[in-house]
Amino acid sequence: MSGSTRRTLSCAREVTDLVVAHYMSAVQAHSEGRQVAWSTAVAPSAEILYTMGIQPLFPENYACVSTVMKAAHDMINVSEAHDISRDLCSYTRCVMGSVLGCESPLGGMETPDVLVSTKNVCITYLKWWQLMANALKRPLYVIDCPRITEEIEDYQIKYVAEQLRNLGVELEKITGKNLDEAKLKEAVQLSDKAAELWRKAYEYRRTKPCPMGVTDSSAAMFPIVASSGTTEAVQYYERLLSEVSGRVKAGVGVIEDERFRLLLSGIPFWHHLKLFNYLEDKYKAVFVHELYTATWGITSLDPAKPFESLAFKMLFNPTNMPQTWLEEWVVKIVKDFDVDGMVLLSSRSCKATSILNVAVQKFLREKHGIPSVILEADHTDERAYSDAQAKAKLDIFMEILGAK
């Protein structure tokens, strides 16, 4: 079972330092008289915020970091004592614990001057941001993002772009400086470049053996979440791409003797990332694609139309797209990446990424013959997780896939 060596990407190991630097940059921003914004992670506005010198922080990432650092439990308890139901999003419960005064990693997130949210992933984005804005007594701007039922239409792009323009105007009132559209175009170009590089690195995962696994990509997605629109992000993904392509040339995979290739859906259970190692060690099964981490690379942006491009990026989010699109996407990935089976992570407290899993599993099996397994736990709240149960389910699944 053991004895297999896992080769972590050096770019993935860098991320710990990048995370710390990211949270410190908000402290730095305040000391330089610049502002700090708390934004949703499938960011409507990172490019706009960076252009205006406002340092964005992403509470979802902070929840993830707190969970990996084993601090989430106490934070969650504080929220629940404050009437935030255990059935509500565990990211929310984690971060609200910090907002409500629980001791938390890196001394807590730097207090924002403004909050920006949207609903392109979930209604929780809206409600959670309202709770934070209320507790912190800071202004909240919401970008309304229509759900896509068929194709993304021009009138929808126009509407979201108009709101992003107005967001710029509102932020100008806070910073006292104008939004420089030439600078925004540059940021959009950088954002587009980072996404393209991330996509290219991803494409290399088609190779056998797969050069990048889920543990690496879950770390390596950090710069594109936190720093879209910056030169640093582009430089990071250039390094990543070169490392990944180097591996492919050398025929080096994440593990030796790769036997199974898996696709992941849902947010990783941050408190038990070792579950992925279990698959690699026991079954030589590697994740070659994750819908979650891929999300940040699926859109191309046109710097000539910065607001419209950013609007399109917001609308074109897998959780905002129709079921038919999602299904086609999965089927294509399974084919392109030669996937043997799919692991669907269900988080009891995350409806947006989880409530379709039962139906998706059924549709994939019945319509496309794709086998899958659902693991039920929670991405942040460890209490909802049973290691024995998760492993037992994976054992059965791997047996079905043909493991001895």
Binding site: K127, N134, V142, D144, T149, Q163, K351, V358, A359
Partner: protein, 371 residues
């Protein structure tokens, strides 16, 4: 006992809603549209001579829905899916869902795949309250009108819309008059009865409901009043599709004198202004509703606390179906705001089948604390 017959009529209408809608359809030869009525501009549907009806989600079991939706998705949409799969809603020709929350979106995704026809319409409901959001919503409603025209094969003229607005506003005024009576020290109707009146308004043609309401209002003054010894409560929350939920509260020493429910005052409290541009007026009315789906907390707090004062409410109960995220979130803000005002509140989570015993115990303890 004549007045009891009148009020009982509304209960009967609600309980027989499925058969009645199916019968209306056969007799009229026109179409029935299932809605989440509080957030769907019903005037448009009514103006096309279709029958808009509120959907409900109290199933006998979740056996069929379990194959598609997990236990932690909103139990209302799960229950509604179960009823669809049980073929209890075969009389619906169209389903109009406002894009309120993740469970509706999830349901929509699944139902699109299962129903394999174009009978479901997702109506965008804005998640913020700016001018551009209102303009966009007006455009959405205009598109919805075009869709309904094609669906019903009937052009909707401005005159049709104005007439619909008039009928709907009349219903709203009548319901408000009924609620006004609940401000009395001894209200003439209970919370359960008031809920049945509103629920029936959501499922029968509005002009008929108006006639019934006028009858009720002329009778009700003479009615035996409810005892003033019970604690005056307000219920706040989402769709309550089973009067038993409120019955449990009123059987436990509470008298519900007001509400802030989707199937209560928020359904009718504000009128649609009659202006030269009816689609805009209609859009504005639905856009401005205080709700968890895009209003700032303050809007809901203002509405709720005004109700508490106007109806001399002693305590607020939040009856909340399991896994309803938007209302669970709002409870945090509303509960705390009430506390600051010195108004006690109780979160009463429930699921079907109702665990009446434990619900009763909780309400009794709450009422005792008020006294």
């Amino acid at each position: 006992m004549h007045e009891n017959f009148e009020i009982g009529k509304f209960q009967e209408l609600f309980e027989n809603r499925d058969a009645a809608a199916a019968e209306w359809k056969t007799k009229s030869g026109r179409k029935v549209v299932g809605c989440i009525s509080t957030y769907v501009p019903e005037e448009i549907v009514y103006a096309a001579q279709l029958l808009p009806v509120e959907i409900t989600g109290k199933p006998r079991t979740y056996a069929k829905a379990d194959a598609y939706l997990p236990s932690f998705s909103c139990s209302f949409m799960r229950g509604f899916l179960e009823r669809l799969l049980e073929k209890e809603y075969d009389y619906l020709d169209l389903l109009v869902l406002p894009s309120l929350c993740d469970s509706i979106w999830g349901f929509y995704s699944i139902w699109q795949e299962l129903s394999s026809d174009e009978r479901t319409y997702l109506l965008h409901y804005p998640s913020q309250r700016s001018k551009e959001a209102l303009n966009y919503f007006s455009e959405v409603v205009e598109r919805f009108k075009t869709f309904i025209e094609a669906f019903s094969s009937k052009d909707i003229s401005e005159k049709d819309l104005e007439a619909a607005i008039e009928v709907y506003n009349k219903n709203r005024r009548l319901l408000k008059s009924l609620y006004e009576l609940r401000k009395k020290e001894s209200p003439p109707i209970s919370g359960v009865e008031a809920l049945e009146v509103v629920l029936s308004s959501m499922t029968v043609p509005k002009h008929l409901h108006n006639q019934l309401l006028e009858g009720l209002l002329s009778e009700i003054e003479r009615r035996d009043e409810y005892p003033k010894s019970n604690a005056r409560l307000l219920v706040s929350g989402h769709i309550i599709d089973d009067p038993d939920v409120l019955r449990v509260i009123e059987d436990s020493g509470g008298l519900i004198v007001a509400d802030d429910l989707d199937t209560g005052s928020r359904y009718f409290w504000s009128l649609t202004e009659s202006t030269a541009k009816p689609v805009e007026s209609i859009s504005r009315r639905y856009f401005e509703l205080p709700s968890p789906y895009g209003s700032p907390f303050e809007d809901r707090i203002t509405y709720l606390t005004a109700m508490v004062k106007a109806f001399k409410v002693e305590g607020v109960v939040f009856p909340t179906r399991k896994f309803c995220d938007p209302y669970l979130f709002d409870y945090v803000a509303l509960g705390h705001a009430l506390k600051e005002e010195g108004v006690p509140s109780l979160l009463l989570e429930y699921e079907y089948p109702l665990a009446k015993g434990s619900l009763k115990t909780r309400v009794e303890a709450f009422v005792e604390m008020l006294r």
